[in-house]
Amino acid sequence: MNLKNVKTQEKIASALLFGCTVLVVLPVVIILAIILYKGIAAINWEFLTAMPKKGMTQGGIFPAILGTLYLVAGAVLFALPLGVLTAIYLVEYAKNNYLSRIIKLAIVNLAGVPSVVYGLFGLGIFVIFFQFGVSILAGALTLGIMILPVIITASREALESVPQSFRIVSLSLGASKWQTIRHSVLPHALPGILTGTILGIGRAAGETAPILFTVAAFYLPHLPTSIFDQVMALPYHLYVISTQVPGIPESTRYGTALVLLSLVLMLNLFAIIVRSKFRKKKKW
């Protein structure tokens, strides 16, 4: 009797936990399905490559796509070198002391700063203080700072996974510390760094709040000519057409969501492929 009770309890518990998991994962599938189903109708060549027309009710979203690509490229250009160097400092140079503890805490906190606060910071420092104005430069730098912790964390893990013996062998042959890092450590950490960078790009491509006050243009049916120009960006465009402008066809909204989502998910998929390829190839 008692044994039977215990067994029933086990079963109920398992079922409950399974239910929780379904509650987490099922909506993901539903969201993807809805966006795909309702958005696919809007997708055609014109939608992807034309300028928006008639107050965004017609035409395409090309400037928003291009704007997002510019912003992402700028953010990576800034964050990748800085992030990798920071990770190299923490893994290869820093002693286990107070300073490295503070740096790690700073990184944790950067990862937790709300995206809208990054927006305020970008506005305060880049737009106003450095007088970049509301521009690609200001927006890209703001996004770059936001994805910095992602790149640092991934690069750290990648560097830490390189076996210590590679370093010792290189040093024992008379290579200097930097030569050792450059030739015996970095090449083997590269796939991990790449994975982290792609994930960072995905994050930067989808964020809205940091670009609200630093770069994003509401409606700008031409392409930027310099890094001091404003641009439209996909996530902000989706926000605008779904909350700020009445009369936008539903399919256009879903279509824009689909393009943004596809861009971000493709980047993530790419990162996952890089990661699993690397794991298979790894020999140590």
Binding site: F18, L90, G112, G124, I145, P149, Y239, A257, L265
Partner: protein, 294 residues
């Protein structure tokens, strides 16, 4: 001569790397400085206590009133709601993935959760607005479905990846011996799991919850799109609310640079920065506790 040149190069590289290393600290400090620089001027017309406890947020009335209590209450309401929804479900699915799911299923579930983390918040907000809003409106017969409840559900969902993945790590990190010891003494699998969660994995799970909540408080776009954006102190969860983050995002575009409204929004930024800084700091301490134990 050659050695000398190499030494100089090495020295310069080392210094560059060191400078990059401390950039993160510099950025955190700069964020704080710039928030203060732009935000503190609001306190020339209003005391910090009035700012935090004032019941009226009327930035464009004359004279303007900058009491952020309704915004704090809005954030608290959706955050509490999200916590109530996400904590049990999040821990439950972390347990399922870590302890029960077969290996293949586990990989698929983890990929699904990674996928969820990747969806941009504006897309989630958009979907919430288009589907969840009308649903809640119809169920409760409301004039609008964009309420604190919709916000809570959306945010609970968005906190999941953080909660599940970190809690799952913590549970998986519990040494095998604990489990084997419990099982060998005749405990059932469920009893063992429960014990493990309530003891060995606890610091990691607490950290997971805190980071999840940190994510919720800081979330901007989704919450702005689904909560209806009314800066009123909510009395039920079926009323529209406005959070701290959404206020900044929605109003900054209308302000005059350097004006009092502009400064007030930066001051809200200070409040947010301090809250998330504290939450992340505490979560980090718990994460370290977990690591020492494992």
């Amino acid at each position: 001569m050659k050695v000398q040149k190499r030494k100089i190069k090495e020295y310069l590289i080392e210094k560059t790397i060191f400078l990059s290393g401390i950039t993160s600290i510099v950025i955190v400090v700069l964020i704080f400085i710039f928030l203060l620089k732009e935000g503190l001027t609001v306190f020339s017309s209003i005391s910090p206590a009035q700012f935090l406890t004032g019941k009226n947020w009327y930035p464009i009335s004359n004279p303007p009133q900058y009491g952020i209590l309704p915004l704090i209450m809005g954030s608290v309401a959706v955050t509490l709601g999200a916590a109530i929804l996400s904590i049990p479900v999040g821990i439950g699915s972390a347990l399922y993935i870590a302890e029960i799911a077969p290996k293949k299923t586990r990989e698929i579930l983890k990929a699904g959760i990674e996928l969820l983390a990747a969806i941009p918040s504006v897309v989630i907000g958009f979907i919430g607005m288009m589907t969840l809003g009308p649903l809640i409106k119809n169920i409760f017969h409301l004039s609008t479905g964009l309420t604190a409840l919709s916000g809570s559900i959306t945010l609970a969902f968005m906190a999941m990846p953080t909660i599940v993945s970190i809690a799952e790590d913590a549970i998986t990190a519990v040494p095998k011996q604990y489990r084997e010891a419990a099982l060998s003494m005749g405990a059932t699998r469920w009893q063992t799991t429960r014990r493990i969660v309530s003891h060995a994995a606890r610091p990691g799970i607490i950290a997971a919850l805190m980071l999840g909540i940190g994510r919720v408080i800081g979330e901007t776009m989704a919450v702005m799109m689904v909560t209806g954006n009314a800066a009123l102190i909510p009395h039920t969860i079926l009323q529209p609310v406005r959070t701290l983050t959404a206020t900044i995002a929605a109003e900054m575009g209308e302000t005059v640079q350097g004006g009092s409204h502009y400064a007030a929004l930066f001051a809200i930024g200070i409040v947010l920065f301090v809250i998330t800084f504290a939450i992340n700091g505490i979560a980090d301490i718990y994460l370290h506790k977990n690591r020492h134990k494992a």
